[in-house]
């Protein structure tokens, strides 16, 4: 069965500092990978996605993620964090058998300090 692991429950970074959120997945074939962001009281919003091709993908709000097959990882990065980036971030993997289902990691909550 597919699974997604986000090792960090929460991370605190200073405003203006760089950010990396870790994600590891378990899937036999080439995965469909996503990062979503959830602001308090809201549903999830797609940040970026990877299906094939260039392993470095760009998303909205200045985020990027790099797919590394050898490490089964899909880490999310941002060069300079803004206070408005404080939210919960979810890594997810898509399964294309029997329909198309998305399996989510447990999430990483990002705190930004001034």
């Amino acid at each position: 069965a597919q699974s997604v692991t986000q090792p960090d429950i929460h991370i605190t970074v200073s405003e203006g500092a760089s950010l990396e959120l870790r994600c590891n997945y378990s899937y036999g074939a080439t995965p469909y990978l996503f990062w979503y962001v959830q602001s308090p009281g809201q549903g999830l919003q797609l940040l970026l996605k990877y299906f094939s091709g260039d392993t470095l993908v760009q998303g909205i709000k200045g985020f990027e993620a790099e797919f590394k097959r050898s490490q089964s990882s899909f880490n999310l990065r941002k060069p300079s964090v803004h206070w408005s980036d404080a939210a919960e971030y979810f890594c997810a993997v898509g399964e294309a058998t029997g329909g198309f289902k998305t399996i989510f990691g447990a999430g990483t909550r990002l705190f930004v300090k001034a």
Binding site: G43, L44, K49, F51, G99, F100, K101, T102, G105
Partner: protein, 113 residues
């Protein structure tokens, strides 16, 4: 464009009561999903549907039922509510393409006491 609309936003149920969480989308998406979100657990798939008249179980279907009579609507039914069903419930939809992301509603916060 409304996207995915969930009602109600909040609900308190007593143990043993039943209720239906409503979900509607106006994007003509074939795929619809129900997730529950619990602190530190991420989102767990309850049920999903690949089109009108077709539904299937996800990871945590026990205690829930769904139906899909139209493309637009995908209600989630809780029978005999239990405290373990206290959670935030999200409905989502996507187009049939495998590379399409999920579009989420704003969630329903349910408390069972």
């Amino acid at each position: 464009n409304a996207g995915v609309t969930q009602t109600p936003k909040f609900r308190i149920l007593k143990i043993g009561q039943s209720m239906t969480l409503q979900c509607a989308q106006d994007m003509n998406h074939n795929y619809m999903y129900w997730y529950r979100q619990d602190p530190g657990m991420g989102l767990k798939l309850i049920y999903y549907s690949v089109g009108a008249g077709i539904t299937d179980k996800g990871e945590v279907p026990n205690g829930y039922n769904v139906s899909r009579s139209t493309t637009e609507d995908f209600p989630l039914r809780l029978e005999l509510a239990a405290p373990s069903q206290t959670s935030v419930y999200f409905c989502a939809s996507s187009s049939q393409a495998v590379n399409s992301p999920l579009h989420f509603g704003n969630g329903t916060r349910l408390t069972v006491t």
